[in-house]
Symmetry: C2
Subunit: 409 residues, 2 copies
């Protein structure tokens, strides 16, 4: 009888993906259905290469270890970027995976990841049906990009949004102290979806209007209009702070980072980030003090300022996935359904993973202002609940205490 399960993580890191792992471990502990829970190291490749860690002791251990795991950034089990082939063209990796499932008596496989990982869930599920395997395949969402369909939002996004908003407010304080006019451009992750850049709007307070302008990748970016937008803001404000997605493109679909905005004064093309490209453009056109800041990986790894709401939801999604498998569901992803914004209420329900795999959710046009340089109050109402609440990290020697990952080194 199959009475064990495997959990794995895949894709880019977030600060909440370990909370989902902790939720799976907790769900296993409470299910009475599974004897052992294995972690596959480096995603599905850990299954292929027989690189499994027994996490059962963690399930049995007292609260602190799972609690520390819940609050640790990135992937405790490591990640991979591996796309399964169509099994009708090449079934060999599938044969290895399901042989491993038999060998370890795996009744359920849980995969925590984004839309590429849901492609893996979908394919494994189809193959299981094809060969008549009863191993349940269940997905758990994650991505700071918030670009998965069906689920109201994705684990990891709320914490990244809280980091972006809090950092934006701190950058505003840092900028307001000077008397000379200046422009600050903050480059935010999300190549195709503007959700995380939009979350910069949450930084606004009664006294601080920053960011004054917000540019998302969902609408074409116009350099002339951008310069005019800044000019307009400089009529009202000494300091103009801009939030911009790394993925903005012009009307022909060219990334701004590779356009003439980034050419140096000799006309040579420079390879630079979007923020740096706009910094050069603003300096050239307006001759004003300008600084660009790339939030870089910090927005996906700053676990010390995670959103409590995000961590709680991520944990609950891991628990729910175990319940689905235990109830003989397969080929599903645990999704968040929002019931109301205020008070913020939500529930978890299963979604057919095929509705999620390989698809992406963009910011709806009606949540972008008609000037294309800001988001609407509806966007803020949607985003705000996701950044509420703080985590209580333990610190040791002045550093946040995270679960050691020596097995990844």
């Amino acid at each position: 009888m199959k009475d064990n399960c495997i959990v794995a993580q895949s894709g880019g890191p977030t600060v909440a993906i370990n909370a989902s792992l902790a939720g799976v471990i907790d769900g296993v502990k409470k299910s009475n259905k599974y004897t052992r829970v294995y972690g596959a190291v480096h995603g599905i490749q850990g299954v292929l290469n027989d690189n499994l860690m027994d996490l059962s002791l963690m399930a049995l251990s007292k609260f602190p270890m799972v609690n520390t795991l819940e609050l640790s950034p990135a992937m405790y089990l490591g990640s991979c970027r591996y796309k399964l082939p169509d099994f009708k063209e090449d079934s060999s990796p599938y044969e290895t995976i399901f042989k491993r499932f038999d060998e370890y008596k795996i009744a359920a496989f849980f995969y925590i990841g984004g839309n590429d990982s849901m492609d893996t869930v979908s394919k494994l599920n189809s193959y299981a049906k094809e060969i008549g395997s009863d191993t349940k395949i269940v997905g758990i969402p994650k991505t700071i990009d918030n670009d998965l369909l069906i689920t109201d939002h994705t684990p990891g996004f709320g914490s990244a949004a809280k980091y972006v908003a809090s950092t934006m407010l701190e950058i505003a304080h840092d900028t307001y102290i000077y008397q000379i006019p200046s422009v600050v451009i903050v480059e935010i992750m999300g190549r195709d979806a503007g959700w995380l850049t939009a979350s910069a709007s949450l930084a606004r307070t009664d006294y601080s209007p920053a960011p004054h302008l917000i540019y998302l990748p969902e609408v074409a970016f116009d350099e002339e209009q951008f310069i005019q937008d800044i000019r307009n803001q400089l009529n009202s404000y000494r300091t103009v702070i801009v939030a911009v997605s790394e993925g903005i493109r012009d009307k022909d679909g060219n990334y701004i980072s590779a356009t003439t905005a980034a050419a140096d004064k000799f006309g040579h093309m420079q390879l630079s980030g979007t923020g740096k490209a706009l910094e050069i453009l603003v300096k050239e056109k307006l001759g004003i003090k300008v600084r660009s800041i790339e939030l870089n990986v910090l927005q996906r790894c700053a676990a010390h300022i995670a959103s409590r709401t995000d961590i709680n939801e991520s944990f609950a999604l891991g628990q729910a996935a175990v319940k689905y498998a235990a109830a003989d569901m397969t080929g599903v992803m645990a999704s968040i359904k929002r019931i109301s914004n205020d008070p913020y209420q939500w529930c978890i329900e299963p979604t057919d993973v095929n509705a999620v795999a390989n698809k992406a959710k963009s910011v709806p046009p009606e949540w972008i202002t008609k000037e294309k340089n800001d988001v609407t109050p509806e966007m803020e109402a949607y985003l705000r609940p996701l950044i509420i609440g703080e985590v209580s990290l333990q610190y040791k020697n002045g550093l946040p205490m995270y679960l050691p990952v020596e097995h990844l080194l």
Copy 2:
């Protein structure tokens, strides 16, 4: 009778400079010597331009307002970059300043800043002596660079160091998840002094060796040796994480950011930061996955992860400055004297401001390893106590609550 005082802030922001301001306000409240405490907006220029805020109500208000001020980043009173001329060549600004002191019955002027600000303290003190003014002029140190003489370390540095170390650990977690070899270069502030870059060493834990290499501006940077250092590390580690000061220079004193390291593949010079320049160099020489991260202003404004030790010391220095003035001392700066590392013990004592003004303290050569790519255990023993302890911020709507600065907008 003169019974009021003025406090002002100058130079670059830190997350602890408002703690010193809160300490001054608290000191005034307890001194029974001063009736009103004014804040000069935008440093000494606020005195010149008669732009003063009455902070007396804040001194009299209940704890929370000063507590919120203590934990707010950047300068509540705004900053300036203004250097007083030699009064023997041009006494006009001095005349305006001391006229203002008479007008507002100013018995003491407190200036919170770095070595440029201490130049202002020194000059105002000399002029006061020249004209026989009895207004006391007292300095309070601050700078994330930790490059002031006499004082064991500077307010603001410990919090920046805590941010750098914590962020470095989080970047390490983010990086360890991948299976392919990679190099990550983290660029840290401190153009002439390597203290803050050295604090990246505090990120090391039992399981995490990052940063594997550390380069300070105090020693000449050799590109070939750098590449060899990375090669050596890659023999032992899949992932090599490097902490590098923005101010590293080659043996001829040229900044690395402006050398051929930053030339593109056509040989064109690119204007880029040090981290980006090294990223391009590593990619070219080793053909490995490489990423550069510039911590940028976040390291001086991330008040949400301030060091409690730093905030407490900064507050105490503000209080001490008031005591010095009340005891008729002038031309002094409140300094920290370390008594022991472990247990960490310190006291505050007055220092002649002339010993600090316009001078800078570099990292001593004996605290840099002979390979010039790391710091010694003595450096870590010096740094560690400064990042210990966390602050308890209030949050509202998911954001840290800082004292509003609408008067600066």
